[in-house]
């Protein structure tokens, strides 16, 4: 049943880790892939959590959108794989 191709989760599963950094839930934001231009909710990204941090990849082209890595007392956030994140400002006050 398990296959090496099925070693990822949804971006949704990163919401807890990302809440260490962001005041709002960015997994509900639309993210535009810097490589192919696909714009989808970050919750729909392919999420890989096997390494020392997490990696979110574009669900269309697999380009790396976001990396968040913990190294001792530092966190490294790399978002260069996204052209932008579009957040719904009307929901930003919602309890999360």
């Amino acid at each position: 049943m398990s296959s090496p191709n099925y070693d990822y989760l949804d971006g949704n599963a990163a919401a807890g880790e990302l809440s260490k950094v962001f005041a709002v839930d960015i997994t509900t934001a639309a993210a535009r892939c810097a490589e192919c231009g696909t714009t989808k909710c970050l919750a729909e990204a392919r999420l890989y959590m096997h390494g020392p941090g997490l990696v979110a990849r574009c669900p269309a082209c697999e380009h790396v959108l976001l990396r968040l890595v913990n190294v001792r007392e530092h966190m490294f956030l790399d978002v260069r794989g996204m052209t932008y994140l579009c957040l719904d400002a009307s929901h930003s006050e919602e309890a999360s």
Binding site: S2, D7, D10, G11, A13, G16, S19, A43, A95
Partner: protein
Amino acid sequence: MMWRSGTVVALHDETPTARTITLQVADWPSHVAGQHVDVRLTAPDGYSAVRSYSIASPPNAEARVELTVERLSDGEVSPYLTQELAVGDRLELRGPIGGWFVWRPWQTEPIQLIAGGSGIVPLMAMIRARTSAGSTKPFRLLYSVREPKAVFYRDELEVISNREDSVRLTYAYTRVAPKDWPRPPGRVDASVLAETTWSSKLIPTCYVCGPTSFVESTAALLVACGNRPDKIRTERFGPTGGRT
């Protein structure tokens, strides 16, 4: 988001390998059906492990959070949660988390829930939220499960599916089916979807939760049946449950 402390107030075995843990969490900000929490266990030597678990309970005013945890034989966290944790113990949790895989009572479209194994948990929260909101919104649940004894929430699902304005419930058994079951055991395929789920013409929102391989194949079948990809919300869970 900060870590909160929850006190175990009840434990209930759903199946021989899965247990529902009811926590009382001070200052819980309530949640939306479908959200999850991160649970952190810390050993005396400081080593800690974090796992994500879906919330099974509907939003409520009592600051209660129910998690149903399936024991993984090679797991690091789930054996403790399902075998050793006792009433009165405390757990550290972070949440509620995730605003994507959620159902809110003001959604008016037909809802198709599709669970693979313990993927039923966040979908049960949606069914319970529908009930507690007094909603009669059209819901269907297709629950793919290994065998009858692996079904979570069986009695409650039975009651809900027998009610008027009910949630239409279909079990799809993958390994062992009850005697005289109309369909031989097997994976969810296009014919199961065609016979038991909402027509794509009704533009339902589909929530699919289960192991990654299950979600992958089911979402592809839903698209092949004419469902719009942007109406399919998925939550995959992996064999290890994540990170340390």
